[in-house]
């Protein structure tokens, strides 16, 4: 029997949540502090503290113990967004410290992505996407002390075009959802090559085994409940293939499933139970990708993701109000370059976080429940969220316009639209 590698990958993310913004707020005040104007930092701090106490700190502690006890035999990958790290630094520096300690073992692989968990990979001009990826790379090296070699895009959004762009940035592996309609008869448990790429390898999420933990772990109506580490390891051992990619929300541990469901104990016992099976070992994404040659080429002409039943981008761009916000934001890019102001850039990029669009979803009941679960605006629906978001975008446009007007009034126009900031970043953040 071939040795199957278990690739655990945890997605760690918090958006910078928006304030409620009235139509009458558009164009009011002087807009000196855009952070306070658009973002509800009280709410952000509240959610961050909750997640830190219920999930990040206790789960990091368990993982640290597992790394220490298992002496190189336990390894995993993390994909942490820039918006999360930024908030951790601001609200709970000990969270950054504990992630840094995990990375210091040398057995944790951190994946790159867009700093802002944005949909910039879907813009027709990919330079904003590339800028956000470089920013993320820079932040991870700076805060966590490791240099990412593999990539996962926002919500595992993926297409041939995105894979090619990511290969162009020098990454060795990219991960996405093992979508049935793409795989066909093929198994997600092998290493693949994206269509049109030469070097980068593609790993696909085993959604069945991932969701057994992520979604179903605490469902008492599930026939496999209660799921023990022992039973789960047996399933992993019986899974044919080279790699079993288990990608899940980090908040699975302690937030989506509370501590009293036994989820943390499950995690704490998983390595020792897995090691009882001779054919199982743990591996990071980058190591697994390096271990195998691609079994086949996978072609994904239009975007897939790991979200909802459709596994496409309809979670964020499924209706008119979502697409309206998305195209407003994309359309602002040339103006941002022209205004070239650090505060405007930062607000602009935070507005691109995909969560803001997810809160505008009007999909049918089952998905709606999932979206409501994640929405911080409990008392309001997608239309309210749209109004507030679009009011912010409208106000932001005014801010950008007045910046441009002021700049051109005080100094002659620069000959080029290309912003100095991006050029510097590009030079600074080239991947090793």
């Amino acid at each position: 029997m071939i040795m199957a590698k278990i690739c655990l990958c945890f997605h760690v993310h918090q958006p910078v949540r928006l304030s409620r913004f009235s139509y009458f707020g558009i164009g009011s005040g002087d807009g000196a502090n855009l952070d306070a104007r658009y973002f509800d930092n009280g709410m952000n701090q509240h959610y961050f503290n909750k997640a830190a106490d219920q999930c990040y700190l206790p789960t990091n502690k368990i993982l640290q113990n597992l790394l220490d006890e298992n002496r190189g035999k336990f390894r995993f990958s993390l994909s942490i967004t820039g918006t999360l790290l930024e908030q951790a630094k601001k609200y709970r520096p000990e969270v950054v410290e504990s992630f840094r300690n995990l990375c210091a073992t040398g057995r944790v692989d951190v994946l790159d992505e867009t700093f802002y968990h944005s949909l910039s990979s879907l813009y027709s001009d990919l330079s904003e996407f590339e800028a956000q990826v470089r920013m993320h790379n820079h932040l991870v090296r700076d805060l966590l002390g490791v240099s990412p070699q593999s990539f996962r895009n926002t919500e595992a959004i993926y297409s041939d075009r995105i894979a090619q762009a990511v290969e162009g940035l020098g990454y060795k592996a990219i991960i996405t959802e093992g979508v049935d309609r793409i795989l066909g008869w093929r198994s997600p448990n092998y290493v693949y090559r994206p269509q049109g790429c030469k070097d980068i390898k593609l790993l696909m999420r085993n959604y069945k085994l991932s969701d057994d933990v992520g979604f179903r772990f605490s469902a008492k109506s599930w026939k496999e409940w209660p799921l023990t580490a022992d039973k789960y390891a047996t399933w992993l051992s019986a899974t044919p293939g080279q790699v079993v990619n288990l990608f899940m929300d980090y908040e699975t541990f302690g937030e989506h499933h509370w501590k009293d469901t036994g989820i943390l104990d499950f995690l704490a016992h998983l390595p020792s139970q897995a090691h009882k099976h001779d054919n199982l070992s743990f591996s990071t994404i980058t190591e697994a990708a390096a271990s195998y040659e691609p079994s086949d080429t996978i072609s994904v002409p239009s975007e897939i993701s790991w979200a909802d039943a459709e596994r496409n981008t309809s979670t964020w761009l499924g209706n008119r109000i979502q697409r309206a916000c998305f195209s407003e934001l994309e359309g602002l890019l040339p103006k941002l370059r022209k205004a070239n102001d650090a505060q405007l850039w930062e607000a602009y990029r935070r507005l691109q976080t995909s969560d803001h669009l997810m809160y505008l979803s009007t999909k049918g009941m089952s998905d709606r429940e999932v979206h409501n679960y994640f929405s911080p605006y409990k008392d309001s629906g997608p239309y309210d969220n749209f109004i507030s978001f679009m009011n912010i975008i409208s106000d932001f446009k005014n801010q950008v316009d007045s910046k441009i007007a002021n700049a051109s009034a005080s100094q002659p126009a620069r000959p080029s639209d290309e912003p100095a900031e991006i050029e510097n970043e590009t030079q600074k953040m080239l991947i090793a």
């Binding site: 139509y23 009458f24 008119r320 109004i387």
Partner: protein, 426 residues
């Protein structure tokens, strides 16, 4: 079933409700005799027997003078004008067999109707037994209570609104409250049109939660045209239109609508506000529009028929239901069925039922104005709400209401049966 009105004789939502409910019940195999006061309209429909209750339906000697509703005046605190003229009624009762005018004053007419209806139902019940008596609101409650007491038939009542709602709890009429409380206490099952209305019965009338069921109103979406046409001013320029439709009373929160209108106009002077409906608040609202400096942009349409409303909805971009206290608010369903983006107050029953509308606190006129402006400014929002409103209301059917109502009938029958069985043990 006992009601007060039935189309084409209808002044409010109660008539439409009875029309749609009986039709849907009949389609599910329920046979219905419907009792209402005598009118000059021909109301007979193929799915039910309508009895326009009248002295003329009785033969001489059938009417007992001693059970005339003299006790109706027995509620403490009721003003003397409510005291029924017992002698006058007794006089009328001596000569049945011929139609007589109900021209007795509103409360006396209600008393006479209830009394006659109760007698008529008892008479029919003795010929061919009924299974359930169903009454709507206080206006037919007394008859239901009497029939149930004298025949042992289970009583189901639907509370469309209470006196607390109709007066925004400012000056409720004790006498009517008394009838409503009587109705709730004496019913085997009570139907309310929203959770908030059910809660009110529990809190204010001491109703037992076990006998209260919530059945939301529905809509026949096919009756509402979905197209839009622009309302043009004298220069042919299309105007954006925000509509209020309903009674002009304190309960309906029309004043908040006007305050929001002023705020909308501070941003966009071209918006027109239509106020359709009549009511005792009209003079105050006209004055208020003038004082707010917006009378040029506010049009009072007066009474508007059902057909006219459908046409007005076609020209409207937003409908607002700003009610302070609203057991349901069926106009929101009508608006959504016509594809008009709709804003409802959180204190309306309909806000519990529908998803594809915007919800505001009636007093938060800043928020109300912000939402109106957003719908008018953001085309994507307008289109998305329009499409989803039409889809959602298409699935809110009277058939579903009828099914739930039959469940309540069965509950009422079972509770009577169980009570009888318990009595038999002693």
């Amino acid at each position: 079933m006992l009601g007060w009105e039935f189309p084409p004789f209808a002044s409010g939502g109660l008539g439409t409700h009875c029309f749609e409910l009986t039709r849907a019940l009949s389609a599910l195999g329920v046979e219905i005799d419907f009792f209402m006061p005598k009118t000059s309209y021909d109301i007979q429909r193929p799915w039910l027997n309508v009895f326009q209750t009248d002295w003329g339906l009785f033969k001489p000697g059938e009417m007992q003078v001693d059970i005339l509703p003299i006790t109706y005046s027995g509620y403490g605190g009721a003003s003397t004008q409510l005291q029924f003229n017992a002698r006058k009624l007794a006089e009328l009762a001596k000569s049945p067999g011929q139609s007589k005018s109900y021209d007795l004053g509103f409360f006396e007419a209600v008393g006479v109707y209830n009394h006659l209806a109760a007698l008529l139902v008892e008479k029919k019940h003795s010929q061919k037994p009924y299974d359930v008596v169903h009454v709507h609101d206080w206006i037919s409650a007394k008859a239901g209570i009497q029939i149930s007491a004298r025949t042992g038939l289970p009583l189901v009542s639907t509370v469309h609104s209470t006196e607390y709602d109709r007066t925004a709890d400012l000056w409720p009429f004790d006498w009517i409250l008394g009838v409503e409380k009587d109705m709730v206490c004496n019913s085997d099952q009570v139907i309310t049109v929203s959770r908030r209305s059910a809660q009110l019965l529990l809190d204010r009338f001491g109703a037992s939660p076990r006998k209260v069921s919530v059945i939301y109103n529905a809509i026949d979406s096919s009756k509402f045209p979905k197209h839009k046409e622009a309302l043009r001013d004298s220069n042919g320029k299309a105007a954006k239109v925000v509509l209020y439709h309903g009674r002009l009373s304190v309960q309906k929160g029309v004043e908040f609508f006007l305050r929001a209108a002023q705020k909308v106009l501070s941003r966009d002077r071209s918006v027109k506000f239509l106020i359709s409906g009549k009511g005792d608040l009209l003079p105050r609202l006209v004055e208020m529009a003038f004082d707010l400096g917006i009378s040029e942009n506010v049009m009072f349409l007066g009474y508007v028929s059902d057909d006219q409303l459908k046409r007005i909805l076609c020209t409207s971009d937003v409908l607002v239901l700003p009610s302070v206290s609203e057991p349901f608010g069926i106009v929101a369903l009508e608006s959504m069925a016509s594809g008009t983006p709709t804003i409802v107050s959180k204190t309306s029953g309909v806000s519990e039922r529908v998803k594809n509308c915007l919800k505001v606190d009636f007093w938060d006129t800043d928020e109300m104005a912000s939402k109106i402006l957003s719908i008018l400014s953001y085309r994507s929002l307008y289109e998305e709400m329009r499409e989803n409103s039409i889809t959602e209301t298409a699935s809110i059917t009277w058939d579903e209401v009828a099914r739930q109502t039959i469940d309540v009938y069965q509950k009422a029958m079972r509770s009577r049966f169980a009570a009888k069985a318990a009595m038999a043990m002693f």
